[in-house]
């Protein structure tokens, strides 16, 4: 039976269209030599007669293999480009900056994958190009459709006419798609893209309209596409600006250890997130109540800063040993703190009286001496241990800035000095002064996250307004006022920021965004001591801010924390995962390919060919049919041979009477279960041979 499918003849793409698409892709993806080689291999099939004869099952297997290759490449890219970390950053509870970065990483990985896609599909397309197969059923590319096909095939009345597609067309679309995946294109990419697309689609155009109409349409399309591209570029710029603004406004700002803008002066409700930032574990005793991230001593325009901007590396006494903060001291408390780093960097939150920081191999620890330490080159999840006890802490002695009121506005200075006079702080001992200030704030001030609007206010200064009018504010107000009041009393003070440790969950303590705190450091008894004058009610006020989704967020946070911990402890788990996956995928791929029987076409001995499945399938009349198809076009599959020959009304030179006789013999051979007597078969053979010889 002739294998020619009537649709197949019109199903091939125009010459060189696929090669052009491949070259366009290679040019855009920076893989031009590869693309040229691939195009050459495919085009070579047009010129060489060598062909293979794979069956549908072989193509199914090859596609299965291609799917595995697809998965393997995807997995490789995912692991090689830190895919798990990026996905974790997006779905986890990290800062928004990390999420955006994660999304960017994922999209870049997807773009790289798209650019590699023509490589992945190439073996299948190449095999198809060197086979005699034309269009393939869609079921080749879908296990689901194959199952459907199998079910219909076993049903008693199965008629399955699957839609078919030429793989070359699909591949052309993939190549063009991959070509457009590059982020930046040369100016003439768009014309080239439209030209290749138009070339590929040209045979399918509606012939009702002439070529000039189509060319005009394509030019219009090109113009519109160019305009759209300009618009897209502008849109991308707007998006990037928006993204930058989002990063700037995001909840956890990049912490600055030399400068801290306070929220003093802002009106409305101060809202901080319930996101878990740190986890603190302490085996025996309660962990320190406050963890300090930085300390400042210059105040100006509601901003605290420090002159000690230089950070210097801390070196452990012995290699891979602990970092000693206070030499010759032994800590009485021990705690462990974990937090996520951003691109390897994070401030170290430490108790005020830290004695030593546990070993952090491979991590660079720096300090500016002002009770601020930070890490660089740290893993994503950093855990550090801290020894702390009396006498500990960063020992930078008091300096003139610690007593200065220089940066204050006149209003603030007047408010502070008036209050100091009112409290009779002058000449008081440090302990007495601290006690007086604490008692004053405790008795006459409230903790509030709400600042009323300034209507009716007599002073433009937030600090003065806090001290004289509202008498309510959050920790930054109390800490700032305390620092300045004690300075008036002649006590060196600093402004410290960090977190309160106040929420216990199971056997660990969690530190949330809303636990951020500020307090005063006063130099008393020869060392820096914490002075926290914020009313103790701040804990409860902050806890009231917990949203109803906090439990769910905590659960995700916990899961992600455990996963990150497991990953970091697992060492090169990606390598192991990749190796195992590759072995599994290779095994599956081998299983798919081992059953294939690719034979060269036209070189099999006759005896080896399988017996015809249907009686008369080897009829000589099919050669005549093939000859007629060459002359008159393919026979529609639904049309019987008799109806077709009648419809053709063949010319006398084609000897219709002989055709009729052959058709009668062929019908008898095909449809009479008794078959055709040998003599009549011989006659059919002879008639067909004569006819084909006379009508080459």
């Amino acid at each position: 039976m002739t294998p020619v499918n009537p649709v197949d003849r019109h199903a091939t793409s125009p010459p060189l269209a696929l090669s052009a698409a491949l070259l366009l892709w290679g040019w855009q993806a920076g893989m031009l030599p590869w693309a040229a080689a691939m195009a050459g291999l495919i085009e070579l099939a047009r010129w060489l007669p060598l062909r293979f004869e794979p069956g549908q099952e072989d193509f199914n297997r090859l596609w299965n293999f291609t799917t595995l290759l697809f998965l393997g490449v995807g997995l490789y890219l995912f692991l090689a480009r830190e895919g798990p970390g990026s996905v974790g950053a997006v779905v986890g509870t990290g800062p928004p900056g990390d999420r955006l970065q994660g999304m960017r990483e994922i999209s870049q990985t997807a773009v790289v994958f798209l650019r590699w896609l023509p490589f992945v599909l190439f073996p299948f397309v190449l095999a198809h190009a060197w086979s005699r197969q034309g269009m393939l059923p869609w079921s080749t590319f879908s296990l689901y459709l194959r199952q459907q096909e199998a079910q219909v095939a076993v049903s008693p009345a199965g008629v399955w006419r699957p839609a078919r597609v030429h793989p070359r067309h699909l591949y052309l679309a993939v190549a063009l798609f991959s070509a457009s995946a590059a982020m930046e294109h040369a100016a003439f990419f768009l014309p080239a893209f439209v030209a290749v697309t138009a070339w590929a689609l040209w045979p399918w155009r509606n012939r009702r309209f002439g070529a000039p109409v189509w060319v005009g349409l394509l030019v219009s399309l090109l113009v519109v596409s160019g305009a759209a591209r300009i618009g897209m570029t502008a849109l991308r710029e707007v998006w990037q600006q928006w993204e930058n603004r989002l990063l700037q406004q995001s909840g956890e700002r990049e912490f600055d250890q030399v400068r801290s803008s306070t929220a003093m002066g802002a009106v409305g409700r101060l809202k901080l997130s319930g996101q878990i930032l740190m986890r603190v574990r302490s085996k025996r005793e309660r962990p320190p109540a406050r963890l300090r991230e930085a300390a400042f001593n210059r105040f100006q325009a509601n901003t605290w800063a420090t002159a000690h901007r230089e950070f210097q590396a801390m070196l452990p006494a012995i290699e891979s040993g602990p970092f000693r903060v206070a030499a010759d001291l032994r800590g009485v408390g021990f705690t462990e703190i974990s937090r996520y780093t951003t691109q390897g960097e994070a401030p170290l939150a430490l108790p005020g009286n830290v004695v030593s920081i546990g070993p952090l191999p491979g991590v660079l620890v720096e300090t500016n001496g002002m009770a601020a330490a930070r890490v660089r080159s740290a893993p994503r999840l950093l855990t550090w241990s801290v020894d702390y006890g009396p006498g500990g802490g960063f020992g930078l002695p008091p300096e003139p800035d610690d007593l200065s009121l220089d940066g204050l506005t006149d209003t603030d200075r007047a408010a502070i000095e008036n209050l100091a006079v009112e409290l009779k702080l002058a000449g008081e001992s440090p302990e007495r002064a601290v006690e007086t200030v604490s008692r004053h704030f405790m008795l006459h001030f409230d903790y509030a996250l709400w600042q009323p609007p300034r209507r009716g206010s007599t002073t433009p200064s937030a600090l003065a307004r806090f001290l004289q009018e509202t008498r309510a504010g959050h920790c930054e107000y109390f800490a700032t006022a305390t620092v300045l009041l004690l300075r008036v009393a002649g006590i060196p003070t600093r402004y410290a920021v960090g977190y309160g440790v106040q929420e216990q969950r199971g056997d660990e303590w969690v530190v949330r965004g809303r636990h951020a705190h500020a307090w005063c450091l006063a130099f008393m008894r020869g060392q820096w001591e914490d002075v926290d004058t914020t009313p103790a009610s701040w804990n409860e006020v902050e806890e009231e801010q917990a949203g109803f989704t906090e439990g769910l967020r905590d659960w995700f946070s916990e899961v992600w924390y455990r996963f990150t911990q497991w990953r970091q402890e697992g060492g090169t788990w990606q390598l192991y995962a990749f190796c195992v996956s590759m072995v599994v995928l290779s095994w599956l791929g081998w299983r798919q390919l081992r059953g294939s029987r690719w034979r060269r076409a036209g070189h099999q001995p006759l005896a080896a060919s399988p017996p015809p499945l249907q009686p008369g399938a080897d009829s000589e009349f099919y050669a005549v049919v093939a000859g007629l198809e060459v002359r008159f076009g393919p026979r529609p599959t639904h049309e019987t041979l008799d109806a077709w020959v009648t419809r053709l009304g063949v010319a006398p030179e084609l000897r219709p009477e002989k055709l009729r006789e052959m058709l009668r013999l062929h019908y008898r051979l095909r449809f009479n279960p008794a078959g055709l007597p040998p003599s009549e078969r011989e006659r059919l053979r002879m008639l067909a041979a004569n006819w084909t010889a006379a009508n080459p």
Binding site: V159, R161, E639, D642, P673
Partner: protein, 316 residues
């Protein structure tokens, strides 16, 4: 293969066709299919507009065969017993005597079958499917040659009861005659100037020959591939969008038997795909029940079978 019996059967077919063709002009294809249904042991539903010759065709066939012919005019008040028969009490002998109804015949013309109530229509079900009737607890076989030709008018709806699907399925074929070309219609007028040709029809064959024709048709070979082709065609109706009820396996059987008869008429001992395609619409279309949407969209049963014939590859 009994060649002589086949030759005899073909001769009977030729005579019948000539006789009927003398009465019904321009309907060779319909007559061929009608005779194929008769030879295949099936029954025929003639559906067409009034005056197109449905009853004439039925009567022409009845008169062509020297067999018992009964005509029943279906009306809304017709009862099942009016068709099947009734047991009447004989006071003299004090026994119930069964009086056979018109169904006990060789050729039954059920004229305007859709005017009777569904109950009466259903009385024909057993007779058509099994060649017997069950009346008052006893089964009574019908004649070996039992052929029903029913007619109905597609345009009238008032006072009619559309045949139920089960009843439609009992008909091997639904045939239509259609209006003729002007020249052919003029020929009919000419032929009837001196009287109706039907009056001149005499029987050209008998019951025994008709039974022989049926046996010969049943002996025609059908290849496995063609059997599968028939099943594919019928099966496709069950998966076609817009068809609520596809054709049953009875349709496949009817298609095979009618194809055998057609092959016999053509002088072949085996069926070809062309026979199958020729009969597919007559055998399958009337059994389909379309979705209302499909009907409103203007699709017809016939068009759906034509679509299927264009979809399913024919053995070549």
């Amino acid at each position: 293969m009994n060649t002589e019996a086949n030759e005899a059967a073909r001769e009977v077919y030729g005579r019948l066709r000539a006789t009927i063709g003398g009465v019904i002009r321009g309907q060779d294809g319909t007559v061929r299919h009608l005779l194929a249904a008769l030879a295949a042991g099936g029954h025929v539903l003639l559906e067409d507009f009034p005056g197109t010759g449905k009853t004439t065709l039925a009567k022409a066939l009845a008169r062509s065969v020297d067999a018992q012919f009964t005509r029943v005019q279906f009306t809304p008040d017709l009862l099942p017993s009016d068709i099947l028969g009734v047991a009447v009490f004989n006071q003299k002998d004090s026994v119930f005597e069964f009086h056979e109804g018109p169904v006990f015949t060789n050729i039954l013309l059920a004229d305007e079958v859709n005017r009777a109530s569904p109950r009466t229509q259903s009385a024909l079900l057993e007779a058509m499917a099994e060649g017997q009737v069950s009346v008052e607890g006893s089964r009574r076989p019908l004649a070996e040659l039992f052929f029903v030709i029913a007619t109905q008018n597609p345009v009238e709806f008032r006072g009619t009861y559309p045949l139920p699907e089960a009843q439609m399925d009992r008909f091997a074929m639904q045939l239509t005659l259609g209006y003729l070309e002007a020249e052919e219609e003029a020929g009919i007028l000419e032929a009837q100037v001196a009287g109706h040709p039907l009056d001149r029809v005499t029987a050209c064959t008998g019951v025994a020959e008709m039974v022989g024709l049926r046996r010969a048709a049943a002996g025609v070979a059908v290849s496995a591939e063609l059997r599968r082709y028939m099943v594919d065609l019928v099966g496709a109706t069950r998966r076609t969008v817009g068809v609520r009820l596809g054709a049953s396996p009875r349709a496949s059987l009817a298609l095979m038997k009618a194809s055998q008869a057609l092959a016999l008429f053509d002088g072949l001992d085996w069926v070809t795909p062309d026979h199958v395609k020729e009969l597919a619409i007559s055998v399958i279309a009337h059994r389909l029940v379309l979705d209302p949407q499909a009907e409103y969209a203007g699709r017809s049963n016939r068009a759906i079978v034509e679509e299927i014939l264009r979809e399913v590859p024919a053995p070549a």
